[in-house]
């Protein structure tokens, strides 16, 4: 036989669990989605014109049935101005995790930016996730280096061509002079 104190303790735990359950249900009713956005460390610094790659993890806390959601991706500068945006619709049941990307405009200035992702259901924002990254100076070295390499190769080809032509001309001149001397010498005799 359980004592009265033990019975009260069990009742208290049951009420607490029920309360927590009701609370989470209420929270889920209010905010049914959990959204996580993450930009990998290797993609935190990106050049203008590049592709920003990230992972998005969505959890549908309330619904058990499949539903369509819209994801709005925005790249915001420090003044919350939208630099680039993208939108897509997908069906979700309980959870989804996927890799996405968004193109950074070619003329994007350097600086710190934020990738802001929103879940919209029936024109109502249901959840939001963010991560930050930096747009760095476009590496002009690469194209510069290519130009230099091409110039060097071109220069070498031209130099080889000039050397070959000169060699030919010099060879011919030598022959001409030699023949001139041979004929002159023989004619004297």
């Amino acid at each position: 036989m359980k004592s009265k104190q033990e019975k009260n303790k069990t009742l208290f735990i049951e009420i607490l669990v029920l309360g927590l359950l009701l609370l989470s249900l209420a929270a889920a009713q209010e905010n049914p989605f959990n959204l996580e956005v993450q930009i990998a460390d290797t993609h935190k610094n990106i050049q203008a014109g590049g592709e920003l790659w990230f992972t998005t993890k969505i959890m549908n806390l309330a619904g058990q049935q499949r539903m369509d959601i819209t994801l709005n991706y925005n790249i915001l500068d420090s003044q919350k101005n939208i630099l680039a945006s993208k939108s897509e619709t997908l069906a979700i049941e309980t959870q989804a995790s996927f890799v996405g990307n968004i193109k950074i405009p070619e003329n994007a200035p350097e600086g710190n930016y934020e990738l802001d992702v929103q879940i919209v259901v029936n024109n109502k924002e249901e959840a939001e996730g963010k991560d930050s990254f930096e747009i760095i100076k476009k590496d002009s070295k690469t194209s510069g280096q290519i130009i230099i390499i091409l110039l060097i190769i071109g220069g070498l080809i031209l130099l080889t061509f000039i050397i070959l032509v000169l060699k030919k001309i010099i060879g011919k001149l030598k022959i001409k002079l030699r023949i001139h001397e041979i004929v002159k010498k023989r004619m004297k005799n």
């Binding site: 022959i175 001409k176 001139h180 041979i182 004929v183 023989r186």
Partner: protein
């Protein structure tokens, strides 16, 4: 000046060369030697009592400089050879002749069409500059080439191989 292509059996080649060079002893000549060394040719000519004082040799057989007055050019370098021939033609005043001994040898080192182009260039240059060209070729070699180049010469002398001729005659009888 006329140009002449002599196609003759190998065994008669030297005899024919001697005859031609001997007939032109009064003129200055250029001898392009593709078969034998300059030394060997000079010796053969001298043995046959042919003066070689007026002959300039281009030796395409040996690459080593043996005599100051002899030009050594590789038979592979047709451009250089053509330039040397034209330079000699230009330098020598008055009547002159050019002997090419033997054209078919060039086929060992060069493409047939290149040799044909070389022959045309030389024949044209010689004709423009008062030089007589006499080119020799053994009748057994380079028939395709000979068919391509005989048009570049004013005259073509072809001597049939005795053995072949005899065989033909045997067949007739």
């Amino acid at each position: 000046m006329s140009s002449l292509l002599i196609i003759t059996p190998v065994e008669k080649l030297q005899k024919k060369i001697n005859k031609i060079v001997s007939s032109m002893q009064n003129c200055t000549g250029i001898y392009v030697s593709l078969n034998k060394t300059q030394k060997s040719i000079e010796e053969t000519l001298k043995k046959n009592k042919i003066k070689t004082e007026k002959i300039f040799f281009i030796d395409c057989v040996t690459s080593e400089k043996q005599k100051e007055e002899v030009l050594h050019i590789s038979p592979r370098d047709l451009e250089k050879l053509s330039y040397a021939i034209s330079s000699f033609i230009k330098e020598i005043k008055g009547e002159k002749f050019l002997i090419i001994d033997a054209l078919s040898t060039l086929l060992i080192y060069n493409d047939e069409n290149k040799v044909a182009a070389f022959v045309k260039e030389i024949a044209d240059y010689a004709s423009e500059n008062n030089a007589r060209v006499i080119a020799f070729s053994p009748s057994t070699k380079g028939e395709e080439l000979l068919n391509k180049i005989f048009n570049f010469f004013d005259k073509v002398e072809k001597e049939e191989d005795e053995i072949k001729t005899r065989k033909k005659q045997d067949l007739i009888y």
